[in-house]
C-alpha cells in the first residue's frame, strides 16, 4: 500500500514487535497521531500567534502552557522546544564555547555532542569510561585537572549523557555535576534516553541544562526535543536578539538567536504536546518497563555463549548484547549466514535487530506489553534451540 509518490505506507509497528534500540521511545501515542492529522500543515500552530509573536507565547493550541508544564515536570525554570536534542546541544555549545575552548565530553558521548562542540570551534576532551563502561565523578575530576594542565584553564562546558547510546548504562550525572561545578563548569545533561522514559529532576541532578529528544523518548514525531535551563542559565542561552538592520533599522523583538526565532511549528510540536500527559504518566511506571526488559534479557542470557555487555542488572531498557558465542556460531555455517537471525525473528513477528547482526547488537523493549515481551523472550529461545544452541533452563 502506498501513501503517495512511491512512498510505501509504513506498517512496521502494526505488523511486528519492534525492538529497534532508537525507535522504542518515539512511537506515537494515539493522541499524537490524531494531533498530527489535524496539524500536519506547515505553519499550523501559528493560526493564533499574536504579539509578541513567539512560539512559546501561543495559547491556542496551549503551547505556552506546555512549555511551563515541561519545565515544572523536569524541575527546571525555562524550556524551549527544539528540532531534536542535537539542536539543544548546539544552542548550548554556541552560547558557551569559543574557538579553542576545551569542552568536557565522555568516551560514551553521542556524536552530535562532538559536532556541536566542533561547530562552535571548541576542542573535545573526553572523560574515559571505566572497565564497567561507566563514567564516574572521580574520572571527571581527573580529566578536568588534566585539561587545566593542558590548557591552563578548566573546560568551559560539560556534556554528560545520563544513559549512553552505546551501552544504555546509567552514569552518575549528579556526582559528575557536583565535581564540574567546583570548577564553575556549566553542565548540560543529555537526556535523549531518559527524558520521557524515566523520572528526571534537573535540580536534584544539579545540572544547568536538561536536553531531551522528542522523537527518541517522548513519543513525538521527528525532529523534536526540548532544551530546559535553570533561571541563571536561561538568560544566557535564551537571550533575545539585539541586531538592527543598517538600511531598514529593523529589530526583531524578543526572538532568540539560539532558537533561530521559532522552532517547532506544526506536527512535531503538537505531536509532542499531545503525547505529553501519557509520557508523564509512563515515566512513573518505568519499573514495569524494566520488568518486561528483564524477561527478554534473561532469556537471551539463558542461551549459552551469550553475554550482556551493558551493566547488569539493567537500569534501562536499551541493552548491548554479545552473541558471538551463540547466534554468531550458527551464522558461520547457516545458509543465510548472519541474516538468519533477523529472518527468523521476522518470521516470529519481531523486527528491529540490524539485518546481518549476530555478533554484538542492541535492542530496546520499551513500550512492549508483558505479552509481547514474553513472545520476544520465547522467540529468542526457540530460534536458539532450532539452531542447536544450548539453552539453560
Amino acid at each position: 500500500m502506498r501513501c503517495g509518490n512511491g512512498i510505501e505506507a509504513r506498517q512496521v509497528d502494526e505488523l511486528f514487535i519492534n525492538i529497534d534500540p532508537i525507535q522504542a521511545g518515539g512511537r506515537l501515542t494515539a493522541d499524537a497521531m490524531k494531533a498530527v492529522v489535524a496539524y500536519g500543515d506547515g505553519y499550523s500552530v501559528c493560526d493564533n500567534c499574536r504579539k509578541p509573536n513567539r512560539l512559546d507565547y501561543i495559547t491556542k493550541p496551549p503551547i505556552a502552557e506546555f512549555h511551563r508544564d515541561v519545565a515544572k515536570w523536569l524541575n527546571m525554570d525555562a524550556v524551549r522546544t527544539v528540532p531534536g536534542a542535537r539542536r539543544g546541544f548546539q544552542a548550548v555549545a554556541q552560547t558557551y564555547v569559543n574557538k579553542g575552548d576545551p569542552v568536557l565530553l565522555t568516551s560514551l558521548s553521542h556524536y552530535t555532542e562532538f559536532l556541536a562542540v566542533e561547530e562552535a570551534g571548541g576542542i573535545a576532551r573526553e572523560i574515559p569510561a571505566n572497565e564497567q563502561k561507566l563514567v564516574t565523578p572521580d574520572a571527571a575530576a581527573e580529566k578536568i585537572e588534566a585539561v587545566r594542565k593542558e590548557f591552563g584553564r578548566a573546560p568551559v562546558l560539560a556534556f554528560i549523557d545520563h544513559v549512553d547510546y552505546s551501552y544504555g548504562n546509567m552514569h552518575d550525572v549528579a556526582g559528575i555535576a557536583k565535581v564540574a561545578h567546583q570548577y564553575d563548569i556549566p553542565v548540560a545533561y543529555n537526556g535523549a534516553y531518559t527524558v520521557g522514559i524515566l523520572p528526571v529532576d534537573g535540580k536534584k541532578l544539579g545540572v544547568d541544562f536538561v536536553i531531551g529528544s522528542g522523537h527518541k523518548s517522548m513519543a513525538a514525531p521527528a525532529p523534536s526535543g526540548i532544551l530546559a535551563a535553570t533561571a541563571e542559565r536561561e538568560k544566557e542561552v535564551f537571550r533575545t536578539t539585539g541586531i538592527t538592520g543598517d538600511v531598514t533599522n529593523r529589530t526583531f523583538g524578543i526572538k532568540e538567536p539560539e532558537m533561530m526565532g521559532c522552532t517547532l511549528m506544526g506536527a512535531t510540536l503538537v505531536g509532542m504536546m499531545a503525547s505529553f500527559p501519557h509520557v508523564k504518566e509512563r515515566t512513573t511506571r518505568f519499573g514495569r518497563e524494566l520488568e518486561n526488559h528483564r524477561i527478554v534479557t534473561e532469556a537471551l542470557l539463558a542461551i549459552e555463549g551469550t553475554t550482556c555487555l551493558s551493566e547488569y542488572p539493567r537500569k534501562h531498557t536499551m541493552t548491548r548484547i554479545d552473541t558471538r558465542g551463540s547466534f554468531d556460531k550458527v551464522a558461520e555455517t547457516h545458509k543465510k549466514r548472519g541474516y538468519y537471525l533477523q529472518s527468523a525473528l521476522e518470521e516470529k513477528g519481531i523486527t528491529g535487530v540490524i539485518p546481518g547482526a549476530t555478533k554484538v547488537w542492541k535492542f530496546n523493549t520499551y513500550g512492549t506489553t508483558r505479552k509481547q515481551a514474553e513472545h520476544v523472550a520465547r522467540s529468542f529461545l526457540e530460534i536458539a534451540r532450532e539452531n542447536g544452541l544450548a539453552v539453560r533452563s
Binding site: 497521531m33 492529522v37 489535524a38 516470529k348 513477528g349 506489553t369
Partner: protein, 60 residues
C-alpha cells in the same frame, strides 16, 4: 458542505487511529483478549455510525 461532515471525517480518522493502536499493542498475532474484543466492537460500531453520518452529510 457542513461543519458536521468535517467533524465526522476527523472522528472517523480518530476511531481508525484507536484501532491502529490496538493493532500495535497486540502485534504480531493480533489475538484480542475479552476486553480488547469489546473495545474493537465499540470502535467499529462508532466507525459505522460516523461513516453513516458522513454518507448523510456528503451525499445529500
Amino acid at each position: 458542505m457542513s461543519k458536521r461532515a468535517v467533524d465526522m471525517t476527523f472522528q472517523a480518522i480518530y476511531t481508525l487511529t484507536d484501532l491502529r493502536i490496538l493493532l500495535r499493542e497486540t502485534a504480531p498475532s493480533h489475538a484480542f483478549d475479552a476486553d480488547q474484543k469489546a473495545q474493537v466492537t465499540r470502535l467499529l460500531e462508532n466507525l459505522e455510525r460516523q461513516v453513516g453520518s458522513l454518507k448523510q452529510e456528503m451525499l445529500k
